[in-house]
Symmetry: C2
């Protein structure tokens, strides 16, 4: 009787179902880094590429290059909406107003664009290369990863009938709520959603974020879900936007410095801290020490780094890395109980609970919960297939002003860059003594 | 943009959200029994009542008597639709056309009505009593049980917010699909939905039935979901309508016979078989031997009973009862491998699989899967409460033409009737030697 004729027609009419529908649908740290780049490196050119570390999954056989281009072109046509810019200008981030300068927001509104890119197939994989000004290339990272991830999801969804789709989501929801129940038993816990780039889909990330907030924040004295790295979701659902910076900054600064002496190269990792602190004053001072190995970073770090608010652990075992950071702080005369330790690599609910327990009262621990929050469909496929399992997609800077970029990290399996350069970097920064850790996501 | 204004207004407009929306929303055996009663006992008066055997659940505190009356009045206002009557007349049931006589269908269309009833509260329970011609009272059983069951569900749903509702159903669906996956591993299995009366809700029963059909019937050589007892769902989804008869028949016939000698009383249980066979010819010959105890029933049964198609086991351990039936058939010179054994009491997926395994190649086993198919929400409540757990609701004939009715069954915990009459029946039929079995549903 009550057929909505217009809606029904519309549902069969659309030419594209866009994955990224707002330029805010990115990690908040990309915006902070964009302002940092715009201010300090407006003329640097970079290249970057998307790489699938899960090589057994042949992405080009699941995702068509033209569907990918259609989605990417859609993002290039987006503009910041007035209401989004007003929010960026007026909202409080990390307790501070006007983190974004008026001149930056004006540039964002009127001059910001996304770079050119190339997509082609290679050995069953999709090769995606970006090239342009750093300010034009950097934002592609999260948009393009989220697009590839969701296109892969859509290809797998297309193989299921209506009831099977229902089973899939019922199982994933049951899984999510079991995790939330586990985390409800851990008072004082702090976590945030860090799952934008490898999410199952935007709508599923949104569901996960809302479920976490509803499940973990019922007691105003013990708000455990602190926010989301996804700026669009923070904006839409009145949550804190979370995140500060990433490996991209030390990688580019090292590449630029690598034209000089080994000492200039080695020092570039601290130059990032100096410039960041100068750009953001006393705010957002979370360091990410693992780009070229955490231990050498801490050993050689200037004293001001010990006064920063905290550290994010990414490629090292977070139990080990947290202990190392606590020990370092004490050696540098700082009280770790006032500092923050953020773990963000391959976390799931059980390990988050154990990390909280382990660091409780020793340092202020928070979890940045990524792929296993927003894309845990393991074992949920109604016919037992693995087409929804996340792949380890990364987008990495490959060069800056023509010089190749390198990342060593604490996990040799995550080392990145041309072999001869990796060797130079290892000579300069030292080799991590750690064993390779299997990479799940 | 595409708001359906009419629908939105309608969703806030309705005066009643009816639970029973078609007179076919009942177990198929009620229609078969109704024709049997219409033909053989058109002038008998009976009383019946609804009883909650799960006394710790105080139903009157969850369900308002007036909401119950509104739902029941709605059913009394329903009529068989033309299309429903055409289907009853023209469809093939159990491989036979015209199981329903034209005169019966004409009566159903023009003269059938539901009896008066009374609802009142008593010790925290809802007391519901029916009184009238047997043809007017009998159909209340399934309608009223389904209504009470769904009103209880609605009361519990009203305590949940939107996300909690989503968790609840995700968990129940995950549970259901886990059961279906278990049953997919059992080739040759046969089962039907018997879960109308104690269902969570009509829509959930419909979901369960569709899920079972989709999950178990993909191989046309091995159709495991044989149908549903729910006539409306069979009609709507092109499934077999399943069921033959229930304890109501021997109970009423025993009550009428109990005005005479003990021998007349004892013989009444076989009189049901004679009349049923006369009413339905060679079809639908499934006997239900446990009304006054299975062992005495089989011991004294006339030889023609051994030629019937099969037996339904309700109150006895189905492993034991099946063995007993197989032994009896062999003693009577019948090959059990051509006979059907139907279990229908408190079954769940694991026991269905074990029963199939146990009786495989010895007798044709089928499961009538009831409450634990259509109302298994144990442990699904998002706050760990038990408000969705099914209660053991029954509707029983209490008297026929003024004489109290009695049921002994194989489970002393299910004995029913005035104490002095139960004693006479036990003297006439013998007492089952079985121990009381806990009643789950």
């Amino acid at each position: 009787m009550n057929v909505n004729f217009a809606e029904r027609a519309h549902n069969h009419n659309f030419k594209l179902d866009p994955i990224v529908r707002s330029l805010l649908d990115t990690d908040f740290y990309k915006l902070l880094m964009l302002q940092f780049i715009w201010k300090n490196f407006p003329a640097v050119h970079v290249t970057s590429e998307i790489r699938n570390r899960t090589t057994k999954v042949r992405l080009a056989e699941r995702i068509s290059a033209s569907a990918l281009r259609d989605q990417m072109e859609h993002v290039r046509e987006l503009h910041y909406r007035k209401s989004e810019l007003v929010w960026l200008a007026g909202n409080t981030f990390y307790g501070t107003r006007q983190i974004f300068e008026p001149a930056f927001l004006d540039w964002l509104e009127n001059h910001h664009r996304l770079s050119e890119y190339e997509v082609h197939e290679q050995d069953g994989q999709l090769a995606i290369h970006f090239s342009g000004l750093w300010t034009e290339v950097t934002m592609w990272e999260v948009y393009s990863l989220a697009i590839v991830s969701e296109l892969k999801t859509r290809a797998a969804l297309a193989e299921l009938n209506e009831l099977e789709l229902d089973v899939l989501y019922a199982r994933a929801k049951t899984r999510l709520w079991d995790k939330i129940e586990l985390l409800r038993k851990v008072p004082g816990l702090r976590l945030s959603d860090f799952g934008t780039r490898r999410r199952h889909s935007f709508l599923w990330q949104e569901y996960c974020v809302q479920a976490l907030a509803a499940g973990l924040n019922s007691n105003p004295e013990d708000v455990r879900m602190r926010g989301t790295s996804n700026t669009a979701l923070a904006y839409k659902h009145n949550l804190e936007a979370i995140g500060t910076n990433a490996h991209e900054l030390p990688m580019v600064m090292a590449a630029l410095a690598s034209r000089g002496s080994d000492e200039e190269l080695r020092h570039s990792q601290y130059r990032v801290l100096e410039l960041w602190q100068r750009s953001y004053g006393g705010e957002l001072l979370i360091m990410l020490p693992d780009t070229f190995g955490t231990t050498q970073f801490l050993d050689g770090a200037p004293q001001f780094a010990a006064r920063w608010t905290g550290e994010r652990v990414d490629s090292k075992d977070p139990f080990v890395a947290g202990d190392e950071y606590i020990g370092w702080l004490m050696k540098r005369g700082e009280d770790p109980r006032g500092k923050r330790l953020i773990a963000s690599d391959g976390l799931d609910a059980d390990v988050i609970a154990r990390l909280h327990e382990y660091f409780n009262r020793r340092i202020r621990f928070s979890a940045g919960w990524g792929t296993l929050l927003t894309n845990d469909f393991r074992g949920c496929h109604p016919r037992g297939e693995n087409s929804f399992e996340p792949v380890s997609l990364v987008c990495k800077i490959t060069s800056a002003d023509g010089v190749s970029a390198v990342k060593l990290s604490d996990n040799p399996g995550k080392a990145f860059g041309p072999v001869e350069l990796v060797e130079r970097y290892r000579r300069v920064f030292g080799s991590p003594a750690l064993e390779e850790t299997p990479i799940l996501v």
